[in-house]
């Protein structure tokens, strides 16, 4: 990893396609999506517009910690609304900044139309480092 990589758009890491649920989805359904896909974060959209994010941290703090009835509660009551996002062609450095300084593990990516196009996660950064340092042992 070097300065040139950090100034490249984050699409060079091939961020994962986002897994999203619609605003209004029951929590039980959202949890099923997270478990089946084994993902720590799901984006909440209204049509295609990003309106929130629900992470494992929210599940721990609010759902399990708060002993919520997942059949009754809907995702918007638990999600973090208006999450931080980046544009898919922003520099990779901004994603690292939000991960390190902001403490985020996942950052949704959007295009100019405001549509959710991807999610960049700390795992993408780790995978990139490993790919470029094959001799690590």
């Amino acid at each position: 990893m070097d300065s040139t990589t950090l100034r490249s758009p984050m699409t060079i890491l091939n961020p994962a396609r986002p897994i999203s649920v619609q605003h209004g989805t029951r929590l039980s359904e959202v949890l099923k999506v997270m478990k089946e896909n084994r993902i720590g974060c799901v984006c909440v959209v209204d049509n295609r517009e990003l309106v929130g994010i629900l992470t494992e941290r929210d599940v721990l703090n609010k759902v399990v910690g708060g002993n919520l009835d997942v059949q009754q509660v809907r995702v918007e009551e638990v999600m973090t609304p208006n999450p931080e996002y980046l544009f898919e062609d922003d520099q990779l450095a901004f994603a690292l900044n939000r991960m390190s300084v902001g403490g985020f593990r996942h950052i949704p990516l959007i295009n100019l139309q405001g549509h959710l196009t991807g999610v960049i996660s700390v795992k993408d950064i780790v995978a990139h480092l490993i790919k470029n340092f094959k001799e690590i042992h």
Binding site: M1, D2, S3, L6, R7, L27, S28, L31, K32, K35, R38, G40, I53, T55, E56, R57, V59, L60, N61, V63, V64, G65, N67, V70, T80, P81, N82, P83, E84, Y85, L86, F87, D90, Q91, A93, F94, L96, N97, R98, M99, S100, V101, G102, G103, F104, R105, H106, I107, P108, V122, K123, I125, V126, A127, L129, I130, F133, E135, I136, H137
Partner: protein, 182 residues
């Protein structure tokens, strides 16, 4: 209006330009990733005894803003209980958290590292196993701390203060007010 610059000022200007140019060519090399984990900013891991209730573990994780607790018997590491275990095995299930024991929900016998292992080996283990937390134990198998993916990202980012840490929090554009979470 032209401002006259004396030779000293000119030299200073030239030197600072050169510094900026040089700082633009930073890279993280393999030696940096061969550095031992002991160089990281490590904190003591949070331990719970085998038999502790899930409720108590969840409360510890929530209150201390941590992603996992280490489960021990005596001083030996027996398992790790993480946010992922909470999501996969507990959330949405009909479980009495006060009665449920952490032993039944933890990941037993997790992969471990020592503080003399390299930062690169931690990255590789995380990449292979999809882990975000790896316990660090001493020679007796007693847990000392937890390496988190966040700690590794912080280590990497410190190599690029100009490129990453000194950035404004957002690329300059309109309409990014009042954003939080993630």
């Amino acid at each position: 209006m032209l401002v006259k610059m004396d030779f000293d000022e000119f030299d200073d200007e030239l030197r600072s330009m050169q510094e900026i140019m040089e700082s633009e060519e930073i890279s993280l090399n393999e030696n940096d990733l061969m550095a031992p984990l002991r160089l990281l900013d490590l904190k003591r891991g949070v331990l719970v005894e085998v038999g502790t209730s899930v409720k108590e573990c969840v409360e510890k994780m929530t209150a201390r803003h941590i992603g996992c607790v280490l489960v021990v018997k005596g001083r030996k590491l027996k398992g790790i209980f993480t946010e992922r275990d909470v999501l996969l095995k507990i959330a949405g299930e009909k479980i009495d958290l006060a009665k449920a024991k952490v032993d039944d929900f933890m990941t037993p016998n997790p992969k471990t590292l020592t503080i003399d292992d390299s930062i690169g080996s931690a990255l590789r283990l995380m990449n292979q196993g999809g882990y975000r937390h790896i316990p660090v134990v001493n020679k007796k198998g007693e847990p000392l701390t937890v390496i988190s993916v966040r700690g590794l990202i912080d280590y990497i980012v410190e190599f690029f203060p100009q490129d990453v840490l000194n950035l404004p929090p957002h690329p300059i554009r309109i309409g990014t007010n009042n954003r939080e979470g993630g």
